[in-house]
């Protein structure tokens, strides 16, 4: 089952403006293109950076 952007938002209680839907669709597809397949990021081996503190991540 594939939900439209309108349905996805309405499921969360958000009522999108009708005139936004086309732009949202275009932007969402553009984001998917930017993501691609994450080829070369070695994502399977990557930790996460939720703790975004350079003192923790950079000063070693």
């Amino acid at each position: 089952m594939s939900l439209t952007i309108k349905e996805l938002l309405e499921n969360k209680g958000i009522k999108p403006r009708e005139e936004h839907l086309e732009v949202l669709d275009r932007r969402w597809k553009a984001m998917a293109q930017l993501r691609g397949d994450l080829d070369g990021v070695n994502i399977d081996d990557a930790d996460i950076a939720l703790r975004n503190i350079p003192g923790g991540d950079h000063v070693e």
């Binding site: 403006r17 990021v41 950079h58």
Partner: protein, 473 residues
Amino acid sequence: MLSKNLAAMAVEELAPLIEKKELSPVELTEEILNQAEATEGKINAYMEVYREDAIEDAKKVEEEIVNGNYRGMYHGIPMGIKDNIYFKDKVTTMSSKIHKDFVSDYDATVIKKLRNAGVIFTGKVSMHEYAWGITNNNPHYGAVKNPWNLEKIPGGSSGGSGAAVAVGSSVASLGTDTAGSIRIPSSANGIVGLKQTFGRVSKYGVYPLAWSLDHVGPMTKTVKDAAGLLQIIAGFDPNDPTTVYVPVDDYIGKVTGDVKNLVIGIEEDYYFREVDSEIEKLVRAGIQKLVDQGAKVQTVKIPTLKYAEWAELVTSLSEASAIHHSDMLTRPNDFGHDIRMLFELGELPSAVDYLQAQQVRRQLKHDFRKAFEQVDILAMPTLPILPNDIGDDFADLNGKKVDLIDNIIRFMGPGNLTGLPALSVPCGFSQGLPVGLQFMGPAFGEAAILNAGYAFEQTNPLENKKPDLLFKA
């Protein structure tokens, strides 16, 4: 002193005069307030001007200085502050309708520090609503205009800060930066903007846009002014768990202009791809000026940059939509049309998307760390395009019509995702509009990028040009 245009002067020029009691802080504050009054009709940089409070504060500050209690570079300097930074008992609107009457019962840490340094607050300056945009075309309070060309955007979200500093209605200012909101308006208005290392400056008392990407930092006329302002606001804050115990550097002392043997990294694949040709020429010429002073250039590779835009968008959109989710359920019509659409978009990424973006971010940090093992700093354009017309959602890139937001934040996001420091300094003009040269450094390497910026600034890239409104308001 009245023979000089005080509104055009930098803090580094004004401070010695104040210290020697040759310039009265009251006289300076009146001059800055008068400049605000004279330019507001055209620029619309201020949300609110605190004329009476500022004059009263200036009198107290003047008394302290006359009595021999001079506190340093920013003592007696009038500043307007971005309207998402809390002042005790004053309205802080975030330039929004929803928060139009919000009054904080405490000062943000950065405001407390500036008060202790003797800064005089002239008021709150405008911003893109909730800092979620780069045009400063605000539906509730009107568009802020670029002092170099009133038909152009000043950039955002700290567009009021950028325009006010450029036009002299604030001697310096503070901005916030989640996806370039300090550096974009600094480039667009021909001033200096510093987004320092994440954790270097407290965000306590600053309304968030996206918690893990937000920064507070200086927007000033000169690099030394930025160094001086960072010196005051930097440091650990027990009220902000993201600040870190790292000693605060001697930023002013390290801004010497000596760049001999400095190794400047150039990353060609991301930062010099799809750049306006005039901007590219100016930026490359700017780097050459540092080479002429003894710096060296080395190319570097940062492969994960190709996913930086995606990671920045997923992270910022998701975090911003989480913050405003409740108001999106109950009062969506109170948001401006543009940010409401971004909040809708931010509801779409899944938890998996968000976490994968954080994995990308981790890899990006790793790549940058590797690059900084080879070079001292990186140099690139601040923006790949020029500021566009107010109200236009598209920009011109070498004759091609491109999306404004996507392009203007393209070289910004990596600094926010990694938390690494980034500085924008003016490097010339294209079509009469200022262009910015950006330097990035390793974590807590603010001194190195400030020093490179200072060395470059000494080559007088703007040829002493200032907006006409600074003199003919």
